[in-house]
Symmetry: C2
Subunit: 235 residues, 2 copies
């Protein structure tokens, strides 16, 4: 069981690994470099990391609106004025966070679509891959989910479109399985939405899974196996 996710770690998610740690913050830096006044990447990256991580800590605990820039200043150790060398405005900070995550997911989805796998392996890859991504970028996912309302309409719509595109990934795999006679399913769209809902729980209900001592691998396996039962998979 412990090896289960590794065997499905397809190429798209090796990229995810590459974006852990310092590499992630360099990506963040490069993505809104033009909006900031700091020249030196060394300084910029270090402080960006401080600012983003402090934002996650404060906003994910009590809400982004409830977090003041003075709180953020205190938490990061960067002065009020100094913060504005790194962010355009408070709202801009939330916007950048959503933008970075969406851009990142978009790339992974794009690569997943190019993978040639049979329907069962495809579904397993999507599920274990997404749980894995949520695990790595937990505070990012949680922030974007809870603070979406605070962003402008255009950005909200882009986020919803991304979720629909993710659902479509699942629907396509299910449809492929039906075509091959492997699966039976009346409402692929509804089933896909259910899977997405269960995946999102991995960041939404961390408290519950910690309480029940459920591991990432166990959870991904649970979603996958129940999905196969729903699809009447003839193994």
């Amino acid at each position: 069981m412990a090896e289960w996710p590794q065997e499905t770690t397809i190429s798209a998610f090796k990229r995810a690994w590459a974006l852990e740690g310092e590499a992630l913050w360099y990506t963040v830096f490069s993505m809104h470099q033009e909006k900031m006044q700091i020249k030196s990447p060394k300084v910029a990256v270090a402080n960006l990391q401080k600012i983003f991580e402090a934002t996650f800590k404060l906003a994910n605990a009590h809400g982004f609106q409830a977090m003041s820039l003075r709180d953020l200043s205190r938490e990061t150790g960067i002065s009020m004025g100094g913060l504005y060398a790194y962010i355009g405005s408070k709202n801009d900070l939330a916007s950048v966070i959503e933008g970075v995550l969406r851009n990142y997911i978009d790339k992974v989805i794009g690569e997943l679509m190019n993978e040639e796998l049979d329907p069962v392996a495809r579904l397993r890859a999507i599920i274990s891959g997404e749980v894995f991504m949520i695990q790595i970028l937990n505070p990012w996912y949680y922030f974007c989910y809870m603070e979406l309302k605070g962003l402008d309409r255009e950005q909200q719509q882009q986020a919803l479109d991304l979720e629909l595109r993710f659902d479509s990934l699942l629907v396509d795999a299910i449809r492929a399985g039906i075509k091959q006679g492997q699966f039976t399913c009346d409402k692929p769209e509804l089933l896909a939405a259910s899977i997405t809902a269960q995946l999102q729980q991995w960041h939404l209900k961390q408290w519950k899974f910690k309480l029940q001592q459920v591991s990432m691998e166990e959870y991904a396996k649970h979603i996958f196996e129940n999905l196969l039962l729903c699809l009447n998979n003839r193994r």
Copy 2:
């Protein structure tokens, strides 16, 4: 299919019907009567309804923190000072909303536990009943889900406990079915959490279901039938 939910409308949810419309607002009034300065129930109930519905409109659109009492005053037509005859404070307003909903759900869960049904009927009743409740009290559920962070720790914990108690309802029914040899399930707790996740989607992802033109009955049926597939129900 259209009749599906009706056949499972057990007594606990007839209560839910009784708390639609005006009766609901009288309940709200009676629940925090002592905190307000308005004597006449007639006036109080009418304005409470205005205040709560305006809060849902504003807070569910852009967040409770982002809603100012001036917004609320404008939306309700009640002056700034006037509002304080009905609510103790802004935070108190959110607290009361969560309290009313939790109290309400608690009663329904309590009655559900007293119903004597076979495991399959029990699961169907819980699922269709909960979707039905969410349908009626949609803005309440959505508000409490999204604004839970803003409440004090004690109240947050009570909300989480309630969710665990709801999961337990499902787990008990699943376990009963296993005992009777009807069901097979390795991880009842995880399966219950998945069902809860799917139920909560009914208020969290209204945009998606409207886009896909999925009805409440259709959705409840989808959750229930896939649950039976996961339980290897031998019909």
